[in-house]
């Protein structure tokens, strides 16, 4: 049975690979090169290319993928499943095969493997790890100068997941997700909502224009349409398939996290954890890899929010405190962010009207022009320290993209 940890021992070669990987990770950590999980995984995978499959064989594996919210949802699912067994997870967000291998190598006693997977690697990791469940949250434009086109990604998922033995737990409000998931024989649909709609006006199946009356959506040309959900987010409640409503209490802010909790409750239920128990456990999650953390810095309370793409910024604007709470925006365009800043023009910054705004980051001038065209008042600052000095004591909402967020965490000591 799956609950008793390792039912069969790892082969000597796999054991050696795990040990070598751990040693490499320790060296990497000692050399001050980050958490070491990725380099450890790379060494281990080179020694034994089947290692990921072998490590996963002993686990009930859950995969989580999306453009936004996958790290948080992975964390929520892990908390929920701990109600029924030990969990190993790539909680720090190392979500490509090497990082995943490294994370699983550390959990030989676990029953569950809850794994965040980078969108581009989902099909391959699903093949290697034979998951019991796959949670798919949303797909939207992200780092366009280097990532595959969004619809192509959905198409790759669709091919990779057709015939999967996993139950696919998927957001029925995102047409691209529905297209990707509906090749799978066993899908549980979750009405998790979709605030950003600008990547899904065109039918993924036939290219027709999608009609979107209210919450519903359908293609007028080919009949592709929103499936009927068995789980739903409804305000502050999760509706389960029996029609019972369970209250969501999270320390994490925002609608998007309520949606993540709803999907997580559906995943947990598949493994026998009731919604009430799952949701209570999710309350424990306070911050995820520094995101949502509130840091005292120079007499202010800075809340750190990560937003990497237009859909992420939109969800973030809906959770910040109202004016006159000041907002600091920081944008970089380094390799990990994508070197193209055009996405700034897809974000509706007029939503920040009324907030005092400071902009920082490598690409603060792109932000400045963007805000000027939006007709907003703002200040351009060289550093976060300078920006903080312009804000009165109290809460500051700080929104940054990927490497800008890392810069911020380093500076404010989180």
């Amino acid at each position: 049975m799956a609950g008793a940890g390792n039912a069969e021992p790892l082969s000597p070669r796999a054991k050696l690979a795990v040990t070598a990987g751990k040693a490499a990770a320790a060296v990497s950590r000692a050399a001050g090169r980050g958490s070491g999980s990725v380099i450890g995984g790379k060494v281990a995978l080179r020694l034994d290319p089947d290692l990921l499959a072998r490590l996963a064989r002993h686990l009930d594996v859950v995969l989580v993928s999306a453009t936004n919210g996958k790290t948080t949802t992975t964390r929520l699912i892990a908390e929920a499943l701990r109600a029924s067994g030990q969990v190993v997870s790539n909680a720090l967000g190392a979500n490509m095969p090497a990082g995943i291998t490294s994370a699983l190598a550390g959990g030989s006693e676990a029953r569950f493997g809850v794994i965040e997977v980078d969108e581009k690697y989902l099909a391959g990791v699903a093949r290697d790890t034979t998951p019991k469940a796959i949670a798919l949250l949303n797909l939207s434009r992200d780092q366009l100068d280097r990532a595959a086109e969004t619809r192509m990604l959905a198409e790759k998922w669709r091919e990779g997941l057709s015939g999967t033995k996993a139950v696919v737990i998927a957001n029925c409000d995102d047409p691209l997700i529905v297209w990707a998931a509906s090749s799978s024989p066993n899908v549980v649909w979750v009405a998790a909502g979709q605030e950003w709609k600008d990547d899904a006006w065109s039918c993924p199946s036939c290219g027709g224009v999608l009609q979107r009356p209210g919450e519903d959506w359908m293609c007028g040309e080919c009949g592709f349409r929103r499936p009927i959900p068995s789980w739903a987010l409804n305000g502050d409640f999760v509706l389960d398939p029996h029609g019972s409503a369970w209250p969501i209490h999270l320390q994490l802010p925002g609608r998007a996290n309520k949606a993540n909790a709803t999907t997580s409750a559906a995943v947990a239920a598949h493994f026998g954890v009731p919604p009430q128990v799952a949701l209570e456990r999710m309350y424990q999650v306070q911050a995820v890899a520094g995101r949502y953390d509130v840091i005292s810095f120079q007499g202010r309370e800075m809340r750190l929010l990560l937003a990497k793409n237009p859909a992420g910024w939109l969800e973030t604007f809906s959770l910040i405190d109202p004016p006159p709470t000041p907002v600091i925006l920081s944008v970089n365009a380094r390799g990990a962010d994508g070197t193209d800043t055009s996405w700034l023009w897809d974000v509706d910054y007029t939503r920040l009207a009324g907030h005092p705004i400071c902009v920082i980051g490598d690409r603060r001038l792109d932000l400045a022009v963007r805000l000027e065209v939006a007709g907003l008042d703002f200040r351009v600052c060289e550093t976060v320290d300078e920006a903080v000095q312009l804000c009165p004591p109290g809460r500051i909402e700080t929104i940054a993209n990927y490497t800008a967020f890392q810069d911020l965490r380093r500076r404010v000591g989180n």
């Binding site: 619809r151 192509m152 006006w201 224009v209 193209d340 055009s342 023009w345 897809d346 001038l365 022009v369």
Partner: protein
């Protein structure tokens, strides 16, 4: 919309709005309003008829399949060609630029007819995608400062005898034909491979579109402080090796 307002048409945002292309519409709209003009902006989805009475039409970039769908629907609709023959101004980028030409290569690898509003033909390059900051000198007839932009395309666009090159690159690829040309224009129809979006980095191109639409030689000045700062930074980035 009243008769006195400037009619700004954003063409097919459901298909052609991949690289922040809405920014071009936002910049033109903002700069028109700053001059006290009344602006009526119409966003036309690809299942709606395109109005033929617009003053300025903006067309964005898109992925390969949406590009083909947009070309099919624009050909069927016919409104853009009628608008141009009425004297409308058209500014297009990337996939939109290719659609305005005689033909391009679609997502199925076939030759797809365009609208023929620009005397250009586009093919697909064999090499790596052209990605990165670009600096180019705009055709001197247009009286504009250098073009700064960001390109990301596989396409190659050849100019026919009646099209004028919009600019000549100093850094970057542009049309990808090896002669250094970037973009093209025929009278009041413009095309470029720059997104970024390009008008945010080149506000005087937005002003040129406004001047052509209003048939005036000059516009009241506006505060271009942040545009100037961004231009200076990006021009210096384009001229430095990555």
């Amino acid at each position: 919309m009243s008769d006195s307002s400037l009619r700004l048409v954003w063409v097919y945002p459901d298909l052609l709005s991949t690289y922040g292309d809405q920014g071009n519409a936002l910049v033109v709209e903002r700069r028109a309003r700053q001059r006290g003009l009344d602006v009526a902006r119409v966003d036309v989805r690809s299942d709606q008829p395109l109005p033929t009475s617009g003053d300025i039409y903006l067309i964005g970039g898109g992925e390969d399949r949406p590009q083909r769908l947009a070309a099919e629907r624009l050909r069927r609709d016919g409104g853009l060609s009628r608008a141009v023959s009425n004297g409308a101004i058209v500014f297009s980028v990337c996939a939109g630029y290719q659609i305005l030409g005689h033909e391009f290569i679609n997502d199925l690898g076939e030759r797809e007819p365009g609208l023929g509003l620009l005397d250009v033909v586009s093919t697909r390059g064999e090499g790596e995608r052209c990605v990165g900051d670009v600096l180019a000198d705009i055709d001197s007839r247009l009286g504009l400062p250098p073009l700064t932009g960001f390109e990301n395309h596989q396409g190659i666009t050849h100019l026919g005898p009646t099209a004028r090159p919009f600019a000549k690159v100093r850094f970057g690829n542009g049309n990808g034909t090896g002669d250094g040309f970037e973009g093209a224009y025929n009278d009041t129809v413009f095309g470029t491979y720059m997104h970024g979006p390009v008008l945010a980095r080149n506000p005087l191109i937005a002003d040129l579109l406004l001047k052509l639409a209003l048939d005036v030689n000059a516009l009241p000045p506006v505060d271009d402080r942040w545009y100037e700062a961004l231009r200076e930074e990006r021009i210096s980035a384009a001229t430095q090796p990555a």
